[in-house]
């Protein structure tokens, strides 16, 4: 039994044109037994940063609170909101602190980064469970359906998608990937982050 497959769950993030999307399934399981179809794995870290935490459910809760603490400390000390790239390094170092007794989480993050000109640049990143960062230009995936997500995303994704098209691409990728994964599924939610709004949609999925 792998601890990474104990509760199941998957997350994906994609880059679009001046927008990003991040999506996850809603299943919480106890190995092959489904427990809940309302288990959120994506959390807002700021107005423009969202963090997905697939992996061991108990660590999802712990890390969510851990990041809330560290983010508050950062905001108080710096007197400004954190930028996505900085946040990615915060995630990385938080996980690497536990290098030899890790949290069983593979975080995925998506956000909009402020450029010197004042515009916003899409940003996505993911790490492994000990904080090795992966800054991708297209999409990042994690969780029990990661191989499936890679396959579908590689086939569906294209550069410079508008928010609505990015939503569709991200949702289709997730839905079709988790339908082939026994440990993921049971509904999904998708966040699309644009410069002036965040669209959250909860999706129905196969319940088998």
């Amino acid at each position: 039994m792998s601890i990474m497959e104990y509760n199941g769950g998957s997350v994906i993030a994609m880059v679009g044109k001046e927008c990003v999307a991040i999506a996850s399934d809603l299943r919480l399981g106890n190995q092959s037994l489904g427990i809940s179809s309302h288990f959120q794995k994506i959390f807002p870290m700021s107005d423009r940063i969202y963090l997905g935490l697939p992996g061991l459910a108990t660590d999802v809760t712990t890390l969510k609170e851990q990041f809330r603490l560290r983010l508050n400390m950062y905001t108080i000390k710096e007197e400004r909101e954190i930028e996505p790239e900085t946040f990615a390094h915060l995630v990385s170092s938080t996980l690497y602190e536990r290098r030899f007794g890790p949290y069983f989480i593979e975080p995925v993050m998506a956000g909009l980064q402020k450029t010197p000109s004042g515009a916003y640049k899409p940003f996505i990143a993911a790490t492994d469970l000990i904080g090795c960062l992966n800054f991708a230009k297209d999409f990042v995936v994690a969780g029990t359906a990661s191989t499936k997500l890679f396959g579908v995303a590689e086939g569906l994704w294209e550069p410079d998608l508008e928010p609505e098209d990015l939503f569709e691409t991200c949702a289709q990728t997730l839905l079709n990937a988790v339908d082939r994964d026994a440990y993921s599924g049971w509904g999904a939610e998708v966040y699309v982050v644009t410069k002036d709004k965040v669209i959250k949609r909860t999706l129905k999925g196969r319940m088998d």
């Binding site: 890679f150 396959g151 086939g155 569906l156 289709q172 990937a177």
Partner: protein, 252 residues
């Protein structure tokens, strides 16, 4: 030794199997079938060769793709071809596709306790002229389907096919419905996209792509004409016809 490491004489067991990578895929249309496979053969992190076919023409209406342990695969194809030749000598005609499928199941199950470590996908034209795909597990469980991916990158490709062939998780526009079968050019595009995607994300997939196309008797081959790397393999022009298209995939 106090740790008991010598209490049981240790014996290294010979492992008669290995995995040689690669991926295969087949999609059935209304009156055609496409059966494809990459041509890389590997063991561990080494590429043994960039061209080792995994897809084989059996008859003018049947094509078999074999993936897994290459030695078992080649031996299995050899034996299937031999049985088909015997059938030809006995009955003066080619074995029908559904009969080949059942033959493959019995041949695989005959080795139930020392299996051929291979996933088979059989594609071709049924006697009623419809395109058909049969997929098998190593010990002979099989079913007829409209599409199937197998091998190293099957987990990458199959959900993509669910979406693009079966239109899973897609709702048709009001008053319309999804087609049950796609036209040949669409299917070829999906096959090529599947393999370029698998090549991008899986180290055991790449080098070359071989797409076999079986057309039902009487169906026009017009949509294939002028395609690069096309070759006809049929023995007669007035029955079911077999074509192959060879393409390059990334070699890294």
């Amino acid at each position: 030794m106090p740790d008991g490491s010598f209490s049981h004489p240790q014996q290294r067991q010979f492992n008669p199997y290995t995995e040689n990578g690669g991926t295969i895929l087949a999609i059935a249309g209304a009156d055609f079938t496409v059966i494809a496979g990459d041509t890389r053969q590997s063991e561990g992190y080494s590429i043994q060769t960039r061209y080792a076919p995994k897809v084989f023409r059996l008859t003018d209406r049947a094509v078999l793709a074999v993936n897994g342990f290459a030695a078992d695969g080649n031996m299995f194809v050899k034996k299937v071809k031999q049985r088909l030749e015997w059938y030809r000598h006995a009955h003066a005609k080619d074995m029908p596709l559904r009969a080949i499928a059942r033959l493959i199941q019995t041949m695989l199950y005959a080795q139930r306790f020392f299996p051929y470590y291979v996933y088979n996908i059989l594609g071709g034209i049924e006697e009623d002229g419809s395109g058909a795909v049969y997929s098998f597990d190593p010990v002979g469980s099989y079913e007829r389907e409209a599409c199937r991916a197998a091998g190293a990158a099957s987990s990458l490709v199959q959900p993509f096919l669910d979406n693009q062939i079966y239109f899973k998780n897609q709702t048709a526009a009001p008053g319309t419905s999804h087609p049950t079968h796609l036209p040949l050019p669409d299917v070829l595009s999906i096959v090529i996209d599947s393999f370029t995607s698998a090549t991008e994300r899986h180290i055991e997939v790449g080098d070359g792509l071989e797409m076999y196309i079986v057309l039902a008797k009487g169906r026009s081959a017009q949509s294939l004409e002028g395609m690069r790397g096309l070759q006809e393999l049929s023995t007669r022009p007035d029955g079911d016809r077999v074509f192959v298209i060879r393409k390059e995939l990334k070699k890294d």
